[in-house]
Amino acid sequence: MTFLRVNQLKVHYPVRGGFFRKVIGHVKAVDGISFELKKGETYGLVGESGCGKTTTGRTIIGLVKATAGEILFDGKDLTKLSRREFVQYRKDIQMIFQDPYSSLNPRKRVLDIVAEPLRNFEKLSPQEEKRKVQGLIEKVGLHSDSVYKYPHEFSGGQRQRIGIARALTLNPKLIIADEPVSALDVSVQAQVLNFMKDIQKEFQLTYLFISHDLGIIRHMCDRIGIMYRGQFVEEGTKDEIFHDPKHIYTKRLLASIPNADPLRRQEQQKLRQQIEKDYEQLYSRYFDAEGRVYPLKRISETHSVAIP
């Protein structure tokens, strides 16, 4: 069942120059991408820095204005909605940010941080509000007394869970997680990832999971889209992407991941060199004259690749 459909989404930023500051070109942060999210799944958006994955997430939640294209959510095109209409949908879509140190207001208590979305949308008495926040805080594994503390009194992993509690207050249907564990240590990372999986089942959440870390993407996601310079290079299920990558860019990305087995070091190195050679030799088969990828072509029910 399609839950969110992104259709030919474009986000272009004008570049100005010359005497009269005329628009002389565009930075194509997102350049015509389409994908769908099914209810209850985790969709991974992967790519290197500057590929447009974060911009895509921010556009869906309305933090960035789309230049063209549609974002269909519940049958409504979010890009066409006015500010006021959009607010209704903001309840259903929440975001978890990368840095738990800067995304929580240091001068507010946990109670106020978590209750903030609640105050914007629902009129609750202070008692009801407190009860609800305490319930959420316990759900994310913190003590209910924590609501009177300030963010600096928590560790990175705990802060990220407070951020998640805030995202959960309005019973959202879709959560956009933008590098939610990149700033955390591995053991804390594990904690947050496990927890995100748990609440997904409990609240029937759909995730759009944005990350540059392919290990985490593989651990979390059902389907994956690989982005390069604002466009999709390949899209498929986890198995298709990791075991049967078709695009040279995907292959190169996968080969770059450090191999956790030191005995296979030589092997991995050979593989990388081979792919690097292919990348240079077959470049024109995968990229057009401007170095951009071709439109996606469906090669199976679930697998699409950008080849001519």
Partner: protein, 322 residues
């Protein structure tokens, strides 16, 4: 770069236009006009002649006609006639303008000459006794109003000790062009510019100090240390250049502050510059002079900010203007 400067100058035109309208309207809204002042000074003037003169000078025309006439003359370099001094404002300003520019330059040079070494010492040897002394000085000078400080300086070094002249811009007996003439000019400048500088250093000292303290712990300074760069060179090649950036940008804005300061300084030291003239003209309701001076200071402010942007783009490779 040339394009950028040209564009900025083009942008000044609407800014100056708005300023000119504002000044014109404010001047008109003031009680009385240039001739009201004449009435008090000149007993022969009666209401009849006054009305005739008003008509003749076009003071009864609609506002927009008056404004157009004023702006047209302005563009031709005609700033109007000072009714108090009975001479064209342009002539009135010519000599004084140079005096003020000279004074401002002196203050500027002295300010930086005092503030930069103090700021560097303070930032590099943070929390040392020297730092504490400098911070103490900057607090005191921050708390002291310019006109009070200038008065004390004048009283102490001018009247009590007699080290410096107490008024004027040059000894009037001296002939222009002689060596003594320039020495006398400099001698007249020293006390007012020192008074101005000692007060205006505070911002730069504090700014530079905190910039250095911030820069000291930056990663690239650590990289320099890891390269084996001696401490003195760490400062001269890495920390100071980066810390001077905002100070350099400050330079242009400083000009605005100098114009404000010159009003007090020139009045207190009876220094014949435009600041002194400004105060006199306001008191004597010599509006053609006042409007001209406000226009000039507005222009100077705009040029100052432009200068700041240009300086910044020259010293910081990350800022490119095209």
């Amino acid at each position: 770069m040339v394009k950028f400067i040209l564009r900025r100058i083009m942008m000044m035109i609407p800014q100056l236009f708005v300023l000119s309208v504002l000044i014109f309207l404010l001047a008109k809204a003031m009680p009385g006009d240039a001739l009201t002042g004449q009435l008090a000074n000149n007993p022969k003037m009666d209401a009849q002649t006054l009305a005739e003169m008003r008509e003749k000078l076009g003071l009864n025309d609609p506002l927009y006609v008056q404004y157009t006439r004023w702006i047209k003359n302005l563009l031709h370099g005609d700033l109007g006639l000072s009714y108090v001094h009975q001479q064209p404002v342009t002539d009135l300003l010519a000599g004084r303008m140079w005096n003020t520019i000279l004074l401002s330059l002196c203050i500027l040079v002295l300010t930086y000459a005092i503030a930069v070494p103090l700021g560097v010492i303070s930032g590099r040897w943070q929390d040392s006794w020297a730092d504490k002394l400098i911070v103490g000085y900057s607090y005191v000078s921050f708390a002291t109003p310019l006109f009070i400080f200038a008065l004390i300086m004048l009283f102490l070094f001018g009247f009590k000790l007699g080290w410096f002249p107490t008024g004027g811009s040059v000894d009037i007996q001296l002939e222009e062009g002689t060596f003594d003439y320039y020495i006398s000019k400099l001698n007249h400048l020293l006390l007012p510019s020192l008074s101005g500088a000692l007060i205006s250093t505070v911002g730069i000292i504090q700014y530079l100090r905190s910039e250095i303290i911030d820069t000291k712990v930056k990663d690239f300074v650590r990289t320099a240390r890891a390269k084996g760069v001696p401490e003195a060179k760490i400062y001269s090649r890495h920390i100071l250049r980066n810390s001077f950036l905002p100070i350099a940008a400050f330079l242009g804005y400083e000009i605005t502050g100098l114009i404000g300061g010159s009003v007090f300084l020139e009045s207190i030291f009876s220094y014949p510059g435009i600041g002194q003239l400004f105060l006199q003209s306001i008191m004597q309701r010599d509006y053609s002079v006042v409007t001209a001076l406000v226009m000039i200071s507005g222009l100077a402010t705009l040029i100052g900010t432009l200068l700041s942007d240009i300086i910044l783009s020259v010293v910081d490779p990350r800022i490119r203007i095209d």
